[in-house]
């Protein structure tokens, strides 16, 4: 099926199941610890050997020699794989990092070996006996120091063009009555998902099966085939449950490649989980940015010049953090410019993390907007409202498919009690805490990508959906079951959903906030086909048939659905492909964040008191799972605002705080109150379900709202994240 005209009325609009706050269908498995994650698939393969990954001890240089004699003699050791015996290895198409170092070392904790033994403890003990000798070379580890060497990156497959220009930015900025020229920095961020990267690999002849934890099954097959130099047909990936990804499990990484190599060398299945302290430097992360934002406005607050430049670093060939993405379309302004620059760094690979581009970009832009509003002596909500645009500012003939930013802002302001905010900072002192309110807009693209599914109706009237879509904790199982139930006119308990198997029809996968909208569209397409098959089998006219309450109706005919399968199961498969509606119409999701913080007047400790997000993101397929996505994003925004930072040691060349004790993410006590409001919206230009994703909207803008609240509380403007008390303590207002 091709989606190239706006959706008209269809069975989804009944909203008997879709749009309902259904519990997660796999919730019980997860809360009872019975969902089998990759590392727990013992039953599938046994006996299994254990692989322990050894990371490089240096940031940049080369291996001069490896002495594995002692390690090989250690108790229980089966084999050791290093670059010396691994054979030729390529890389996948998404990540540039090499899964196995040697002789060159590209970054700290890049894998130099995998030690395989009968037990995990034996493998770990033996790994400490492996002698790897290195020659250090000077590396580039400091983005600020490398900034001058940064160049314009090649356009990437994702994200905005590196440079954009509309009108005459420099001229307009020079002439503007009110201007702002601000520098902002965001640090490197870790995904810090609960489940570490883990894989069990099994070879049967030249067939390779992996139980692993990745977000995009099709990318995984593609990238593993290319890395190992084997045929895609010989690879089978299984990922039914994923304990969080946040972009860090886009496709196969070190665990999958090394488990495959180790299983081949050991002649038996091998299981590998990356130890937490290895994850931060071995795997990918959200790279740090240095950003410069220039805004120019008329005295009435109308933006006339919008300029955003961002510098990030990466391994050679790695992607650019596209921090300018949202600046292109968020606000009006006739003269605009965005520029991305990329420096080479010898740290772990920078790559996608929840709202890549938007998240760090909005951290800067939405502080700049707060600063600009203050310069204009204008309320920050009003300043945003008057600079709303209903057309793409770079292409004024291109409208937004839906854009309720203003409604989000106004609804949020009303609901949050924004009018009670002191327009002067550092005016509200209560019980030793400076209280402040802050806000920010939210915008995140609503991409869709082709997605297929197979749907089967059996003799008992059960509907079974199969697609290689993944559920990374987002609720894919549930919204796909809701989609099939709505389309086939049955209750959700009549639907089985099977995901995360590369033998199933190829889906969008989970990433880029495209998963929910795309994968349900694929299921919709397959269900349309199955409905036709049911109607035809029952001798009814497919164009006039309704599917309601387990029955099929056409005129006076009202037949049980299962009657269609008397002679055998009916099955349909289809792929939803998306035409160029997304080119004709700008498709984005919108929101507004409102935050209240307290800042301790003595210590500068910052504690969030409440957070509100108002979102407009097309039809909300399941308000319960969608809310979880938004509050998860808001929580990550809180971490980015107040504590998350991978600290770079510029001498030794690595992220120092590489575990969950050193890399702090918010705990429950940091998040006392969160509220989410979804505005009523359907977006007929998005998908047949008129839906968009929400997985990354919640983080976009969330951190800046907190930064702005800290400013309102204290009058201290911190432009370098995270906002920690040491950046406040010398400037805290005097009490009394």
């Amino acid at each position: 099926m091709k989606f190239d005209t706006p959706a008209s009325t269809n069975p989804i609009d009944q909203m008997k199941v879709i749009g309902q706050p259904k519990d997660r269908v796999e919730g019980k498995l997860k809360t009872t610890g019975t969902a089998t994650y990759a590392y727990e698939q013992q039953a599938a393969v046994s006996p299994t050997a254990y692989g322990y990954v050894v990371g490089s001890a240096i940031g940049k240089g080369r291996i001069s020699s490896i002495d594995s004699s002692e390690a090989r003699q250690a108790s229980g050791v089966i084999t050791i794989v290093t670059y010396e015996n691994a054979g030729q290895l390529d890389r996948g198409e998404f990540y540039v990092d090499r899964a196995l170092a040697g002789p060159k070392i590209d970054h700290y904790h890049q894998a130099v070996a995998i030690v395989v033994a009968h037990t995990f403890e034996q493998a770990r003990a033996a790994s400490a006996l492996l002698r790897v000798y290195y020659v250090r070379e000077p590396g580039a580890y400091d983005l600020a120091a490398q900034r001058a060497s940064a160049t314009t990156p090649a356009p990437g497959a994702f994200g905005p063009p590196p440079h954009t220009a509309t009108g005459d930015f420099e001229g307009a900025f020079k002439q503007a009555a009110v201007t702002l020229d601000g520098h902002y920095t965001t640090p490197d961020h870790a995904h810090a998902m609960m489940e570490p990267h883990a894989t069990i690999a099994q070879w049967q002849g030249n067939k390779l099966t992996l139980w692993t934890s990745i977000q995009q099954m099709n990318w995984g097959v593609r990238d593993l085939a290319k890395t190992l130099g084997i045929s895609k047909d010989n690879i089978h990936l299984i990922s039914p449950y994923i304990g969080g990804g946040f972009g860090g499990k886009g496709t196969i990484l070190c665990d999958a490649v090394l488990a495959s190599l180790a299983a081949r060398a050991a002649g038996r299945p091998v299981k590998v989980a990356l130890p937490r302290p290895l994850m931060f430097n071995n795997l990918t992360h959200r790279p740090a940015t240095i950003q410069r934002i220039r805004l120019g406005a008329n005295p009435d607050g109308t933006l006339t010049a919008v300029g955003h430049e961002s510098w990030s670093g990466n391994l050679r060939g790695g992607r650019t953090e596209a921090a300018t993405a949202s600046t292109r379309t968020l606000y009006a302004g006739a003269n605009r410019m965005t520029r991305l620059y990329l420096a080479e760094l010898d740290l772990a690979e920078g790559s996608a993390m929840r709202a890549p581009g938007e998240a760090p970009g909005m951290m800067a832009l939405e502080i700049a907007m707060d600063e600009m509003a203050e310069k204009l002596a204008m309320d920050p909500v009003k300043f945003r409202v008057i600079n709303d645009t209903q057309v793409d500012p770079e292409q004024p003939d291109r409208r937004f498919s839906q854009r309720q930013l203003v409604e989000c802002l106004n609804t949020g302001a009303d609901h949050f009690g924004w009018a009670r905010r002191s327009t002067q900072p550092a005016k509200e002192l209560h019980d030793g805490w400076w209280i402040g309110l802050g806000m920010a807009s939210a915008i995140r693209g609503a991409p869709t990508t082709k997605s297929a599914a197979r749907v089967r109706l059996d003799r008992k009237g059960m509907v079974t959906v199969e697609t290689d879509m993944t559920d990374i904790g987002t609720g894919s199982y549930t919204i796909i079951a809701q989609t099939a139930a709505e389309m086939m006119g049955v209750d959700m308990d009549k639907v089985n959903v099977y995901l995360g198997d590369s033998r199933f029809p190829e889906s969008s996968g989970s990433g880029g906030q495209w998963g929910a909208a795309s994968s349900t569209a694929g299921v919709y397409a397959a269900c349309v086909k199955l409905r036709e098959a049911v109607a035809t089998t029952l001798g009814l006219d497919p164009t006039k048939t309704e599917f309601i309450d387990g029955h099929v109706r056409e005129g006076s005919n009202n037949l049980p659905l299962a009657q269609a399968t008397i002679d055998g199961d009916l099955q349909a498969e289809d792929v939803m492909e998306f035409g160029d509606l997304a080119k004709q119409y700008a498709q984005q999701t919108f929101g507004a964040h409102f935050v209240e913080v307290g800042v301790n007047a003595a210590t500068g400790e910052i504690r969030i008191r409440r957070q509100l997000a108002v979102c407009a993101a097309g039809r909300i397929l399941n308000p319960k799972t969608a809310r979880s996505q938004i509050i998860g994003g808001m929580t990550m925004g809180a971490g980015a605002a107040l504590m998350e930072e991978m600290i770079v040691d510029h001498r030794l060349g690595y992220f120092v705080n590489h575990d969950l004790a050193g890399y702090e993410v918010p705990v429950h006590a940091d998040i006392p109150h969160q509220e989410v409001i979804f505005l009523d919206e359907v977006d007929a230009y998005a998908t047949p379900l008129k839906a968009k994703g929400v997985g990354e909207l919640g983080i976009s803008g969330a951190a800046a709202a907190i930064a702005n609240a800290v400013y309102n509380a204290t009058g201290i403007r911190v432009r370098d994240y995270p906002i920690t008390l040491d950046k406040l303590i010398d400037h805290l207002p005097a009490v009394g």
């Binding site: 003990a125 003595a602 030794l652 050193g662 940091d670 008390l725």
Partner: protein, 316 residues
Amino acid sequence: MKSFTYERATSLPHAVNAAANNPGARFIAGGTNLLDLMKLEIEIPQHLIDVNGLALDEITPTEDGGLRIGAMVRNTDLAAAPQVRRDYAVLSKALLAGASGQLRNKATTAGNLLQRTRCAYFYDTHQPCNKRRPGAGCSAIGGASRQQAIVGVSDACIASHPSDMAVAMRALGARVETLNSDGQVRTIDLADLYSAPGTTPHIENILNNGELITAVTLPKPLGGEHIYYKVRDRASYAFALVSVAAIVLPDRTGQLALGGVAYKPWRSEEAEAYLPDGAKAVARQLLAGANPTAQNAFKIKLAERTIGLALSTASS
């Protein structure tokens, strides 16, 4: 983790004799720190002597009206003990500000005192660390040092002690009771338990090989207001940037110790003499000779302000 042998001590003499007979041995109690360090091969004991079975888990009154806390009393139980909450509230508050519920359920009184620094360089065996490998150098000096100590530091080490419990105990004037393998019992003021890093940061306390902490004693209750204020970036489950344990008496005198600033809880009686003069005077005296890095110099002002907060809490 290296292979090791293990035995369960059934009596105090058994425990200390086993330690004397196995020079590479470690006592294991809750294991919340030791096991992590063993997995990373930072601690490589050849032998573990499990002291969980020893009857050291009681809280009893002392003859002079104080409290004896068995070495194996779990942090959770100590924090909840009615006599602790009533008479030594600063200790209860400090315990509850540390770690997480699950860790406190396992962690013991003596184990908490002897836990090792959480310096990230100490935990990464690829990096030079004088605590792990004497003479290797200190990576924290000139590196990531925001969390590290500002007083009592040396050119060889700037690690801080991570305990909250110990800070409150130090403020209370706690003493540590130990047993040596020769049967000798000694009592050590908590102030004297920890060794300054100097040129030997791998030596962290004055305990002899095989010497076992059996109890911590607290002097008779001081009365007054008990405050524990712990400053950290996130609201729970983080080590202190600075913490203050304070007992403030109605006449504005009192006792006070700082956490997060040194290799041990930091207290000075000379500084306490300035309590009636306010936080600034106390802090100036207490942190005289501080030698912070650029990244943790903020702790000086933070300590002063947190002391001020504690004193104002007491007076309100």
